[in-house]
């Protein structure tokens, strides 16, 4: 049956290419046409860039288009929109929101950011203090968000705000789509230990958001945010990369390139980490094979946990291996990077940046809670401030 589907997909791709020759069509125009042809993400519904097919057919389409030299977006710059905003809008957004936001999100015309974390609410999203008060057909938002990636480039933000302070903590939250160009939105870079400012702080002062940009019912924000975060954890870990992808590849490469640096003690460490990295890769691969639905479960948390730990141990080992060169650092000047590559930079940068892997997108501690409670069914933590022991990660 897959063969029939493939034939159909091939035909659709050929039609798209015939009507919009990549050689003569502008990239944006082509991407819009691809979206409209349902070839953007085939697992999305018809009319929203997809064809309602199983997700596994997407790579086939991508291959055909790539082979034909069709333009594509730089997906790495759209991770948040594609990985988190899109599934959330698809699952919880109104039809109007879906039609308005998904196309420019997918084409890369509009960059998205996530406005969940607050200085006083890190891993504990139920403690979100940013307030949104209803004023007719709009909401007036005041508060502060932190650890927002690419806020300074984003056109839209997924915003979690408190709309009802009277009810238990998790019940009074509502989910909005926030126009980052609206009056009252102020973005300031947040410098981190690497020296650069990869994240922003976002200050919201009397920002007005139309009620039409509310996602889910008022008070339902917790559940909607939950969906976003489950997707975040998956988006953060590409589950089926080749052997020696990521940090292990970098360190193994250094090992191979620099026989002068090798010592028996470091060899023993490297080999064990190689085994662990390959084990983590196979674990991700197995999970990838398991995920037939679009709704990733808590199992992905384990892969994120392992990858974070490995990135940290490997980058730490690389500095030990490099010795004298490990004492050098490229540049402490504060910059706002265009794109963050966790295996980029020099070894010192990788080491420092990897520390964030176990904090951003759900701290490792929160992920262990999630595994313990949702996978193993162990009792929830006693919670002093509410009857409900909801625990949700941020960074």
């Amino acid at each position: 049956m897959d063969e029939t589907l493939r034939t159909d997909l091939r035909t659709r791709v050929e039609e798209l290419l015939a009507e919009h020759d990549p050689a003569t069509t502008g990239p944006l125009e082509f991407l819009r046409a691809r979206f409209d042809a349902g070839l953007a993400w085939v697992h999305f519904p018809g009319g929203l860039g997809g064809l309602g097919l199983p997700r596994r057919h997407q790579p086939f389409v991508a291959e055909l288009l790539a082979a034909a030299g069709a333009p594509d977006r730089d997906r790495r710059r759209l991770t948040i929109g594609l990985g988190m905003a899109a599934p959330t809008i698809l699952a919880y957004g109104t039809e109007e929101q879906q039609r308005r936001f998904l196309r420019p999100l997918w084409t890369g015309e509009e960059v998205w950011c996530q406005l969940f974390s607050e200085p006083g609410a890190g891993s504990d999203l139920a403690a979100v203090a940013t307030r949104a008060s209803r004023d007719g057909d709009t909401w007036v938002v005041n508060g502060q968000k932190v650890w927002t990636s690419v806020a300074h480039k984003a056109r839209w933000g997924m915003l979690l705000a408190r709309t009802d302070p009277a009810v238990p903590k998790h019940a009074g939250l509502t989910y909005f789509l926030c126009d980052m160009t609206a009056p009252g939105v102020e973005v300031r870079p947040l410098r981190q230990l690497t020296g650069e400012a990869e994240f922003d702080e976002v200050f919201l002062s009397d920002v007005r958001i139309p009620d039409a940009h509310r996602v889910g019912a008022a008070g339902e924000g917790w559940r909607v945010a939950h969906a976003t975060l489950m997707n975040e954890r998956i988006a953060l870990g590409d589950l089926a990369p080749p052997r020696e992808s990521g940090m292990i590849g970098v360190v193994a490469g250094t090992w191979r390139d620099r026989p002068d640096l090798r010592t028996p003690g470091l060899h023993a460490k490297l080999l064990w980490l190689w085994a662990e990295a390959e084990a983590a890769r196979l674990t991700g691969l197995r999970l990838h094979q398991k995920l037939e639905s679009d709704h990733p479960g808590p199992e992905g948390s384990a892969v994120k946990l392992a990858l974070a730990r490995l990135a940290q141990q490997l980058s730490g080992l690389e500095l030990e291996l490099l010795g004298a060169d490990g004492l050098r650092y490229a540049d402490w000047t504060m910059t706002q990077p265009d794109l963050v590559e966790l295996t980029g930079g020099d070894a010192g940068y990788r080491y420092l940046r990897a520390k964030g892997n176990s904090i951003e997108g759900g701290t490792s501690e929160i992920l262990r809670n999630i595994i313990a409670e949702r996978v193993l069914g162990l009792p929830r933590e006693p919670r002093a401030d509410s009857g409900v022991a909801g625990q949700e990660p941020a960074r």
Binding site: P242, W255, L378
Partner: protein, 372 residues
């Protein structure tokens, strides 16, 4: 080697057929191989031969890996891996690994239809006469072919020898390693049972002095066959280790969910929760690694997969068994509780077919991460 996403084309999940096989094995073991029954092995009792006969003959596991034309089930290593998971889960004292995986692998390499068929039918139980600690990369024969054609030598801690009807004996000649078949009741062989750390896979010391034998493989192919059998054994032992680890985790979770201390369910203490979460993650990783090793049985990546499997899964099984004892507290130390059965099996398995350090050293060669 980095250009290919190794394993992307191999299915790491359990198929319906495998699940059905698992159920039939589990059903038998649930009634015939309880922890109480297994424990008596340490005092000279145990389910022993009758259990093995049921598994080997009634469930036809003896010939699981033997092609149908030789009277077997023609299944793949993946099915054998699922059987081993269950045998690990019950710490079953049966020679499936030594006879139906390792010996069968060597016999198939020898291409001897008679031996294979008898192993497949369960008429014969076999054992490869090498120390259980021998890894695929470290094998050297301890037995030699004498001038009169008989075999002579001592082999320590051989697994499956006590249960064996036939022994497959790697034997050295000037030209290389041959593979010989020796009947276990041959007067030229003495099999001395060893009081073993893991009595559920009791080992024995062999002494061959003028043992009569039939040569199955000559010196051009003997060593390859032996290494191949040990490699498959190492790859599949990982699934037994997953069974052990999974069972330890389950036992611990179940116990701690009902156990109360300080007025709370012990499984609700966060330090315990986090340790169990980490353990679960490691058991799931071990499962992926073991599944890959089983799926890679016919793949050029098998040497990497097998050494990875032994390096990783052997450690996880030991960790799981050790955590099982520790998190149970005193009860985990008692003879009556099954935790110690898992601990002994996990630790002996860690030494079996090459320890983690040996496999990592082997991996270093395979993936080009040289020591100096």
């Amino acid at each position: 080697m980095n250009s290919r996403a190794q394993g992307a084309d191999l299915d790491l999940l359990y198929s319906d057929v495998e699940d059905a096989l698992r159920e039939s094995v589990r059903a038998l073991l649930s009634s015939r191989c309880t922890a109480q029954q297994v424990t008596t092995v340490y005092d000279g009792g145990g389910p022993g031969g009758r259990l093995w006969r049921s598994l080997a003959v009634d469930l036809e596991l003896a010939g699981l890996l033997v092609p149908e034309e030789h009277g077997g089930a023609g299944a793949s290593a993946r099915e054998a891996a699922v059987v081993l998971e269950e045998l690990g889960r019950f710490v079953a004292p049966v020679p499936f690994l030594t006879s139906s995986v390792i010996s069968v692998s060597a016999a198939l390499a020898a291409g001897d239809g008679t031996v294979t068929a008898r192993l497949a039918s369960g008429e014969w139980t076999g054992a490869l006469a090498v120390p259980l600690t021998t890894g695929p990369a470290s094998f050297t024969p301890a037995v030699r072919v004498d001038a009169d054609g008989t075999l002579r030598g001592r082999v320590a801690v051989v697994a499956g020898a006590i249960e064996a009807d036939v022994l497959l004996v790697p034997a050295a000649t000037a030209a290389g390693t041959e593979l010989h078949l020796v009947m276990a009741d041959d007067p030229g062989i003495r099999i001395t049972p060893v009081v073993s750390l893991d009595m559920t896979r009791q080992v024995a010391d062999l002494e061959l002095s003028g043992a009569a034998s039939r040569r199955l493989l000559d010196s051009s192919t003997g060593e390859t066959a032996v290494r191949g059998a040990l490699r498959l054994g190492a790859a599949l032992l990982a699934s037994e280790q997953v069974g052990v680890a999974d069972s330890c985790l389950q036992l611990t979770v179940d116990y701690l969910r009902q156990r109360r201390q300080f007025g709370r369910v012990v499984a609700g203490f966060q330090a315990v929760k986090h340790r169990l979460a980490d353990l679960w993650a490691q058991v799931e990783s071990a499962r992926a690694v073991a599944r890959y090793a089983a799926a890679a049985a016919g793949d050029p990546d098998l040497p990497v997969a097998a050494s990875l499997a032994q390096a990783y899964c052997s450690e996880v099984a030991v960790l799981a068994a050790e955590e099982c004892v520790q998190l149970h507290g005193g009860i985990g130390m008692t003879w009556e509780y099954p935790a110690h059965l898992y601990l002994k099996r996990a630790k002996a398995d860690q030494l079996a077919l090459g320890n983690a350090a040996a496999h990592l050293t082997h991996l270093a060669e395979l993936v080009n991460l040289p020591s100096g």
